[in-house]
Amino acid sequence: MSGTNPPPKPPSADDNAFKKELVALIPHLRAFARTLTGDPTAADDLAQDAMMKAWDARASYQMGTNMKAWTFMILRNQFYSEKRRSWRQSQLDQEAAERTLVAVDDPESPVALDELRLALATLPEEQREALILVGAGGFAYEEAAEICQCAVGTVKSRVSRARKALQATLEKGGYARDGRAAGDAMRSILAAADRLSSVRN
């Protein structure tokens, strides 16, 4: 019963097309997982699990529909079901956030990115994921709603609240770190964004 493999299936053209599309999505799944877990190692474990769940469920996927949204939904569900099993997750989130900051200890990396990560970590989870999906992942509100399995209006309001809270946090320096003057985080974000937009292709 359990432990037996499903009956072998001949490879099909559909499988190959599916696999190709899935492989192309791996970098995006890794990025989304990174924002959810805040920890590179945990993120890759999560992304791999999601990739395999998507592969196993390929029969239920309709080619030509939005595979990116579909796989993101799988990844998100996986994340929350694991999280429910973990009683000390809130503790871990904090530790993971700290580790991520250490992990990006690259002298070339603009300070502002760390500030943004910290500020993101202070957002309620559902606001953070909504903002990431819409603001960074390039999803439409409708797609983000599908991924989060909630109403479009809910996503809109979460994104809007997240944006306001993020800006407020960055302007206040609402997280204590190195005692720098309030507003420094926002200033470095503005400066870094300037640099980035001028080199953005």
Binding site: P10, I26, R30, G135, K164
Partner: protein
């Protein structure tokens, strides 16, 4: 010339200057800057090379599925 409408947000903290044209423009710029950073943060990971492990796992699953 002041703008008397826009901003459904009435939560201006006391002491903060009322949002005139310049204030709105500043707020817009800040949101834009946050957006750029957010995308950059995400794209940084997207642009990382994918660890071999991912493709290995998928290949093994594929072989298993096709009865190899």
């Amino acid at each position: 010339m002041a703008i008397f409408f826009t901003m459904t947000d009435k939560s201006n903290p006391p002491g903060k200057p009322a949002k005139d044209g310049a204030g709105l423009e500043e707020a817009r710029l800040r949101q834009q800057a946050i957006g750029v950073k957010l995308r950059h943060m995400f794209d940084e990971v997207v642009n990382e090379p994918v660890p071999d492990e991912f493709l290995d796992i998928l290949r093994r699953a594929d072989e298993r599925g096709s009865g190899a």
